[in-house]
């Protein structure tokens, strides 16, 4: 949830990268079979909502309104219901993000170990400049994330689904070299 005067961590700022291409359904062929299997794990169809949204995000990089509508139709709920759920969770991208979404933990245990310097280094070296803004070349988006559950490996950083441990400011150039 994001709300309140100073609760800005994690927000992705709408970036002009909306694609207007017609929506291609995700749940066809193997993906549909997979969804049908997931549904069986729950006594109610809607139990598979979070996994279905993950499937959309894995296929498309983000969850568009059309994606929400497709999930809604699959699970017999309304698109408005799905949107209500999507907006609760920080990991579903409601806007397209750069090729690499970089999430840096800055919660207190990492903060005392210098996480702010790591964030600064990422913002400077990606050209993003600001949190939540996608770089001009569409390559990077940098956001702060709350505790990643790896506090003994300060500072953990996620690049898409890669989980990197013990990233210090002086390792940032090296990390970015691997994500071009």
């Amino acid at each position: 949830m994001s709300h309140g005067p100073s609760a800005s961590a994690g927000a992705i700022i709408r970036s002009g990268h909306h694609d207007d291409a017609p929506y291609e359904p995700v749940f066809v062929g193997e993906a549909k079979v997979r969804l049908d299997e997931l549904v069986k794990r729950y006594p109610r169809k809607v139990g598979a909502l979070l996994p279905a949204l993950w499937m959309v995000q894995e296929a498309r990089g983000w969850v568009s309104e059309a994606g929400m509508a497709e999930v809604a139709a699959q699970l017999d709920v309304t698109p408005a219901y799905v949107k209500g759920v999507v907006t609760f969770y920080t990991m579903y991208n409601q806007h397209p993000v750069g090729k690499y979404l970089i999430q840096v933990c800055t919660t207190t245990p990492c903060h005392v170990c210098g996480a702010e310097d790591v964030v600064r280094a990422f913002l400077d070296q990606t050209g993003c400049g600001e949190l939540g803004v996608t770089s001009e070349d569409g390559r990077y988006t940098v956001i702060e994330v709350e505790c990643l559950g790896a506090c003994g490996f300060a500072t953990p950083v996620m690049v898409n689904s890669d989980f990197l441990e013990s990233v210090s400011a002086d390792r940032v150039a090296d990390v970015l070299g691997r994500y071009r």
Binding site: A7, G10, Y42, R44, V112, V145, E146, L148, G149, M158
Partner: protein, 438 residues
Amino acid sequence: MGYPYKPHASETLVLSTHFGDPEARTLKGWKDRGGYRALETALGMDPAAIIGVIKESGLRGRGGAGFPTGLKWSFMKPDDGKPHYLCCNADESEPGTFKDREIMRWTPHALIEGCAIGAYAIGAETCYIYIRGEFTEPLQRMEDALAEARAAGIVGRNAMGTGKTINVWVHKGAGAYICGEETALMNSIEGKRGNPRIKPPFPAVAGVFGMPTTINNVETLTAVPHILNQGGAWYKNFARSDNPKSTGTKLWSVCGNIARPGNYEMVMGFPFGEFLRDICGGALPGRELRAIIPGGSSVPIINMEEADRALMDYEGMAAVGTMLGSAGCIVIDNAQSIPRQVARLARFYAHESCAQCTQCREGTAWTTKILERIVAGNGTAEDLDTLLDVADDMTGKTICVLSDSCAVPVVSALQRFRGDFEALITKKTVHTVPVVVS
């Protein structure tokens, strides 16, 4: 143990024995190390007898609240004709805590075994392991291990050839600290927003999908096979002689400004000062330890005088005015500004509030705003009293305790380190903090 996974001689390895050993991850490797013997024993026992052993062991929930596990299991009524559920809480998002991640990365089969035994004991045919979405590696390790366990017939329709159904599924979260709260977790499994529910009804009466449910932390369930293998009396022995209320071993995640961060498995009641200074290596070179948050960010912050006389169990931590919580120990040294760190913690809670309750939504946000203005040098003399006043409104008045959890570090920091806040207000200086090179 610190990294790279070298145990200290004063640790007592039970859950962490195979941390750092990649072979323990596979089914074969796990069986070679004695895995799934406990499940086999359990499936031949009466569920009530299993609960009896867990009660005897004194095992208490490792997710934060410390509720006796055997007692919790006994709330599930056998033969009520309803489907029962077990939910394993692997949301691990309490700042400072990173032990469940290690259990799942290194010994995924240990958790599956604990889940299967727990499910059988409470009469559940389905167990959901709720893993936070950011844990990409633990998610993969658990899925891989579950695929092996299903293929080998350990879990599934005919678990271990006994004809019993024990399905274990991973449910991947999507970024929300609050989903670690047990009723929010159940809503999230049901495909809802992760808002906590009003209790009662308690989960054992109406839990996930409205059915009787037990929720247990990863570490709690992982301890179960060891207890069945070696007996309740064996586990109960890991305790101070004068305190039978806290038993067993506990994983302590130690992070922040400490020489050797890591997960240390300690017997209940070990002296905390010795632990921090000797086993974890004490302060970084040239620094001094100043404050400790011993049980994850939601417990009171203590000073070193208190830390040095604390004992590492539920009662020992309470005796110095704090809590064992999830044993996510955050170490803060003299190079840090305590008001600045508390302000960052408040921002965490403001970000993570589900915003259902007014006291929490407004309280966490205003606490953050006031603390940030103090840190920026714009605080006023009344601000500290306002903070305490807001904290009072946030305590004991909401559906879940996230609100209380934000108030706790603020109030405790004002009790122990008020001078730091006053200095910022009276001198109107912007606190600058030396850069820590990690």
